[in-house]
Structure formats: structure tokens, C-alpha cells
Symmetry: C2
Subunit: 345 residues, 2 copies
């Protein structure tokens, strides 16, 4: 069956029992290409956004969202092109976004999808800098971190979807930015291209010592927690009075099958929170979708990208069949930029 | 030497190496009764306020405040009566408050002391319900916990200076109040006299099971963390969306020489903070002294105490020499109410 007559789909075949979302939990199957009925559109998927939080959707223990049922198509944010439209409000060729998951085709009645602004540089940006990753960074910086000139902002996965934007927003606000990365190429790219003050390679032996050195320079005022929560323990003694933490997810926790060894440091952390008058806020970006802040973000971010104040780094992988490995790669730090999978142009 | 001609003082003689502030770190000495000069007043100490945070002032490792030097008088909030006044703005018999520490007498030039409102039921209340304990509860409830009708508020040391007020403020706002205490008498007093919905005795074998049972009933919306941080681990799975935590100090951490055994649960906590959109704020009450909120508190709390809406429970111990044991008792849960030491009437 050729691609034009079939719908290839990535299926969740088992629950993960691994420390990262191993590709073995997925299967590839082929269903008939769906046909749009009256009032429906057929969408050819062109891009998948690969997000760390998707790992949580694989697990039956996920406490806040419904896990994907075994045998179902893997969920995830998507971009596509309208191939057939039986609706007056969509035309063939329109680019749309939604959450129809890891498959070649999708039929929609027009709900749960929306058109993509044709003015943006690439449609895939709605999966990253102009999507939930970028918006998460924007909400964190504006609402919770309230990054100010001269302050120090630390963040992990500095080239990832969230990190690359939070760091650049921090720079725009005049903060000293310290990002965690994996590998020397990312250090150079983060510092030279994205303009972060310091990038620290968590795969080096002196990572801990370098963190201590950089965090102690002016202390830490803002911390976007998204990647390896272990940095919290390194940062804690260096937090300044009235520091702010945005807890945007704990990627290493999603993937970790075992907690770090003891003793239990929780009360050390809360003691610091008390003494330093630190605030911590849990942030789930989806809560802010459709708010006035979301409209403001789309407008501002588009302008910044068009004007070159914000650079977008995408890690593009070709082929639906490579989506599972791309997700695994995000947990292993193999992505060099926001991870997206391209299914078609 | 009689009390009238000498100044008995509690001296810090060594740094604590114990899990609670053992009385052995203090000594009692006797200095000449000080004489007030021109523009000075002589104050006879009548009450000492015994606060958990004072333990931190004993330790050289205290990160945010200067520790008391060895050989110096132990610090702490105080109430006294003017015995001699060489100042036009003070008269003999005026009741004043300050922070001159654990000694019979103090000479002041009028700075660092203030007159006590003669309308309040007892001067010692400025050390508790009308002082920093009560104000801490008020700030926590108004600024951070924002307790709402029908919500569930949990707090430890429910008969202590902070707990007794936070619980009653919670009741006034229509919340379900669950307080931790030590001993069956405190359970009855908390529930029957102070009107808390449930008091749980942390010294019973089924404390953990009772916490699970009560926390799971409607979930937990507000948590005033002040006493045994261990309750955090019990409460974590039961927090409702958008729950609020006020970190007012971690008493069990001040006193603990060893952290709880592993694994390290910190990332479990931050994962819950993220998923439940929880906010955490470190609160040091002194930061709010002198603010408009402080004036509002003094006025409102006085009215509530006079009107009987807020009941005040004091644990009164007589004798300066018993101050060290009273501080130790607070860490051992021996106080039945806000702990104060009476030196004179």
C-alpha cells in the first residue's frame, strides 16, 4: 500500500517499564486512509511535535490526564495540510494544527483544529516557539519568574523547546542566563548563537563544580525547572532572597524508575524556601491557552521571531516511523533544538 | 542577692549539638541591676515569648540571622514594665515590648521598645496572638493561603502560637480545619474549645492512617507548614488543584540532627507541585512588620479577641530559670498553647 491510500499510525502497544520511553512500547500499523464525510476535512499530517510530557500519557499511573489506551494511536500535537475539504471554512492547502496524534491522516469536523497563521516563517513553529513550548516559557517568565535586569536565571535543556525560549526571553529582559545542556556542541551553540551567558554541559565530570561556581557568582534569582531536577539541589544553597521557581515539569522524574538515594532532602528544600522567602509555582501551559496572555504571546513572539530577537532552533527528524526514537532521544538529550518529526512537506 | 538589686540572665554557654535545644547549652548568671541614665528607662521584664525560631539563633550555621555569641544573653521577644523613667514619653508602670532577651532587667533609650496597647486583655498576648505568631498566621491566611469557604486547611502544632490562630482564622473563613497535635488532651481541646474540625495526635500509632483518611476526604487546599514537615509527604498525594502551601518554617528541621532516610522525595514533591499547579511561598513574618497589613491585623485581631471570635491559649511557665526547658518543651510538644514565661506580674 502506498502512502496515498493508507494511513500509517504509531500505536501504543505496551506501558513503559523503562527509564526512558523506549521505542519498544510502540508499534506501527496501517489502516485505510480515512474519507471525509459531509462537513468534514481530510488532513495530511506534515509535522509532529515531540514533547517530554507525552511520556506521561503513556503511563497508566498518570495522575492528571487520561493515559493513551493500549492499541490506540499515540497522542501528540500535530500540524497538517488540508487535502480534501467538505467545509466552506476550509480550503484545500490550508495549514492546520491540532492534537490528532502520530498518524499520516486525520479526518476532522473542524472542531479541535485551527488554521495556522500563514505569515509565520514555518508551520512547524506552532509546535515549538509559537506553540506550547514557547508559550510555557512566556508564561513562566511573565507570570511567575518575573525576570528582572541584572538577575540570574537558570534553566535546563537550554536548546530544547522550552529552554531556548526562556533563555532568550531572559536575555531580552537583561538577566544573566545560565543553561544546562548535554554535549559541547550545544554549549557553543547556546553561548554563541542564542547568546546565553553560560551553558554548562551536564555530561562533563566537572558539571557539579561548574554549577557551584556559576550559581555562586551572583546567586540565583529565577529557576525554570523543566529538565533534570537534580540541579535544584545544586542551586538551593545559592538562591537569593525572594527567588522564584517555576515548576514546569520534572523531566528526569517522568523518566526515572527509581528516585535518587537518601537522605530525603525535601525538608532542606522547604527550609531554604522559608528562609529565602522563595516562591514556587506549578505551571501547566495548557491552563493558559485561550487567555488574553495567549493572544499577547502569539503577537509578540511572532514579531520577535520575524525581527530576529528570538531565534528558533529545530531538531528535525524525517519519517513517522522515527517518532518513537525521537521521543526517546529527548529524554537522552539527543535533540539539538525543539524536536519535531516531518512526515511531509 | 535579691531580685531587686540584681539582674539574673540566661546566657548561651555552648552551641547545641542535640536534636532539641537541650537546657545544657544555657547557663544562669547574675549581673548588677542596670541603672538608667539621662533619657533612659529601666524595664522590669515580665514575660518572655518562647518561639521555635529562637533555636536557629543558637546555631553558628544559621544562614539568615546572626547567631547569639557564646557568653551573651539569650535573645527573644519580651514584655516588661517601666520601673524608672528618665524620659518624658514613658511613665513608671507603662507596659512595653521589645527584644531584649532572657533577663530580669533592661535599660533602653526608648528605641527598640514600644508601648503596649492598655486595652488588650493581657500584655503577654503581644508575644502570641497579637504578636508575631498571630500575625504570621494572619499573613499566611490572607496573602498566601487565601483560605476559602469549603476548602480544607491543614496545619501542625495546632495549639501552638501559630497553629491556634491559623486554625481559627480558617474556621472564620468557613474552611474545614485539620490540625496536628501531640496528646489526647490537645485533640479534645482543639476540637471542643477551638472548634477545629479534626485534630490528629501525631503520637498515636494510627496517625499516618488517620492523616490519609482525613486528607483524602475532600483533598487538601491549604497547608501551613510550620511544625513537622513529614506531614507534607502524607498530604502530597491529596493536594487539590491549585493548592497553596505557606512555608513558615520547618520546626522538625531546625531540631533534627539527621535528615529522614531515602530515597530523596524532593522530585516527587516538585512533580506534584507541577501537576497540581501548587504554589509555595516562604514566609518570614518579620518582613511584614510595620506594613499596612500589620496595622490592619492589630486592629482586627484585637477586635476578634475582645469579641470572643478568636480564643487565645497560653502555656504559662513561671520563672526565668525555666525558660530553657520551656524552649526545649516546644520542640518536644510539651506546650499546651503559646509558650510564655512569666518573670513577674
Amino acid at each position: 500500500m502506498g502512502e496515498s491510500s493508507a494511513n500509517r499510525r504509531i500505536i501504543v502497544s505496551e506501558r513503559p517499564r523503562f527509564s526512558v520511553p523506549n521505542t519498544k512500547v510502540f508499534g506501527l500499523d496501517t489502516a485505510p486512509k480515512p474519507k471525509p464525510g459531509d462537513g468534514e476535512i481530510l488532513i495530511r499530517t506534515t509535522w509532529l511535535g515531540i514533547e517530554p510530557y507525552l511520556y506521561g500519557r503513556l503511563k497508566a499511573t498518570s495522575s492528571q490526564t487520561t493515559p493513551v489506551s493500549l492499541g490506540d494511536v499515540m497522542v501528540g500535537p500535530t500540524v497538517g495540510r488540508v487535502e480534501i475539504s467538505n467545509r466552506p471554512d476550509y480550503a484545500k492547502g490550508d495549514m492546520v494544527q491540532g492534537f490528532w496524534g502520530w498518524q499520516d491522516y486525520h479526518v476532522s469536523d473542524g472542531s479541535q483544529v485551527s488554521k495556522i497563521d500563514p505569515d509565520i516563517p514555518r508551520p512547524s513553529y506552532v509546535l515549538g516557539a509559537l506553540g506550547m513550548s514557547g508559550f510555557g516559557a512566556y508564561v513562566a517568565v511573565n507570570e511567575y519568574l518575573k525576570v528582572k535586569r541584572g538577575e540570574t536565571l537558570i534553566f535546563g535543556a537550554a536548546l530544547g523547546g522550552l529552554g531556548q525560549i526562556v533563555g532568550q526571553l531572559g536575555k531580552m529582559r537583561g538577566a544573566r542566563t545560565i543553561g544546562g545542556v548535554s554535549g559541547p556542541q550545544k554549549v557553543r551553540y547556546g553561548e554563541d548563537v542564542l547568546g546565553f551567558d553560560v551553558c554548562l554541559d551536564r555530561k562533563t565530570k566537572d558539571f557539579k563544580a561548574r554549577c557551584e561556581q556559576e550559581f555562586s557568582r551572583n546567586g540565583v534569582d529565577c529557576y525554570l525547572m523543566s529538565a533534570t531536577g537534580g540541579v535544584l539541589q545544586l542551586a538551593m544553597p545559592h538562591f537569593n532572597l525572594h527567588a522564584r521557581i517555576a515548576a514546569c515539569g520534572v523531566m528526569s522524574f517522568y523518566s526515572g524508575v527509581e528516585l535518587p538515594p537518601g537522605p530525603d532532602q525535601t525538608m532542606v528544600v522547604f527550609n531554604e524556601i522559608n528562609l529565602k522567602r522563595i516562591s514556587v509555582h506549578g505551571l501547566v501551559t495548557l491552563d493558559w491557552a485561550g487567555t488574553p496572555l495567549h493572544s499577547q504571546f502569539k503577537k509578540e513572539m511572532k514579531g520577535w521571531i520575524q525581527g530576529g530577537q528570538i531565534k528558533v532552533v529545530e531538531h528535525i527528524v524525517d519519517g513517522l516511523e522515527n517518532a518513537p526514537d525521537t521521543l526517546q532521544g529527548v529524554f537522552e538529550g539527543r535533540n539539538f533544538g525543539k524536536a519535531v518529526v516531518r512526515l511531509a512537506d
